[in-house]
Subunit: 205 residues, 2 copies
């Protein structure tokens, strides 16, 4: 278990370690529920349920379908499965030793990258950081695709969290963030500053 996964596990634990939210998980299992419906069942006010929903949603645990005035939430089973997988190896230490990725070894380990992609990454990175932003769109897309993999799927990030991850890659995190969204690697919620990773073949079901 690497450090990011361990932080992700921690997020999930904190999110689920609440009586009301754990109950809601049960309510939304195999069934769509609206906020007002759960407020009635749990005997809480709607804003309170809304608060819990936002926590669960931010942790990627919910699917949302909007229809008319109502928002139908239901459990994201893929995400729950991930949580269970984490818990299965929960004793594994956070692995304090970060391998430092001395050179470009990590590039070879990328299973999605073609030889051409790998060459681009070798050319434009040093020790895991971008040294320059490619201007050719094709190369830029390769870089963005790699950037996207730095984010967990099925999890919501605040803008601050996104920036924190991207700053590790390049000073100009704003450009990276904008194009990740612009080219469809990440999505952003209409109102708030919430982001999540999108995969081309995802959510098709």
């Amino acid at each position: 278990m690497d450090k990011d996964q361990w932080q992700d596990l921690l997020l999930l634990l904190k999110t689920l370690a609440d009586e009301q939210r754990l109950t809601m998980i049960g309510l939304m299992n195999d069934q769509e529920r609206t906020v007002s419906e759960m407020a009635g069942l749990l005997k809480l006010t709607e804003p309170t349920v809304s608060h819990h929903i936002s926590k669960l949603h931010h942790a990627g645990l919910l699917h949302l379908r909007m229809e008319g005035n109502s928002r139908f939430y239901r459990l994201n089973e893929r995400r729950m499965a991930k949580f269970k997988a984490y818990v299965a190896e929960i004793e594994t230490p956070p692995t304090e030793v970060v391998p430092v990725e001395s050179d470009n070894a990590w590039i070879e380990a990328l299973d999605w990258a073609s030889e051409e992609d790998k060459k681009v990454l070798r050319d434009y990175t040093f020790d895991g950081r971008l040294t320059q932003l490619p201007t050719k769109e094709k190369k830029w897309l390769t870089v963005l695709r790699w950037l996207a993999t730095r984010f967990e799927t099925d999890r919501r990030y605040t803008e601050k969290e996104v920036n924190a991850v991207l700053t590790e890659i390049h000073r100009d995190y704003a450009t990276l963030r904008r194009d990740l969204v612009g080219f469809g690697f990440m999505a952003r919620q209409n109102g708030g500053g919430e982001y999540w990773r999108v995969e081309p073949e995802e959510e098709g079901a």
Copy 2:
């Protein structure tokens, strides 16, 4: 998952949903650790570590071996396995419907009880509560053995929690508690008011 197990899961989630404690779990996996040792590794003061230890211990997640001035803690793997089993069915609702155990059906379901034991329980209980405390020691032991099963193994209870469970069985919870300890069905920590269930064949490993 019944209501007690669900509350137990909640306790474990709350206990584990903390960065320091999750790290400690890693440190104590397959290895004994002392408080001062972990305080050094985590860069926390000893009282702080002690605080976290007590939470983990209360949740039954630790084994303790005392030697000289030091206390060696290590992970209780059986308890972690229980947690994992809970998580595996985490979506299962709390099962709000308590079957009410209309009559004595629950007695038949006790796998440890002989026919003689069952007769004692039928005679001295009504709707799951003790109607009278047997004076004959043999019958009393049967009752105590049953009472012990109302507690989770591998978990620590405060005196208040013990009383809460026992009050459901009989007004005179103090007598029940005293004899549970006196006859070796439960153990109590020397100083504080912490209790845990002991099984004759437990901890022998």
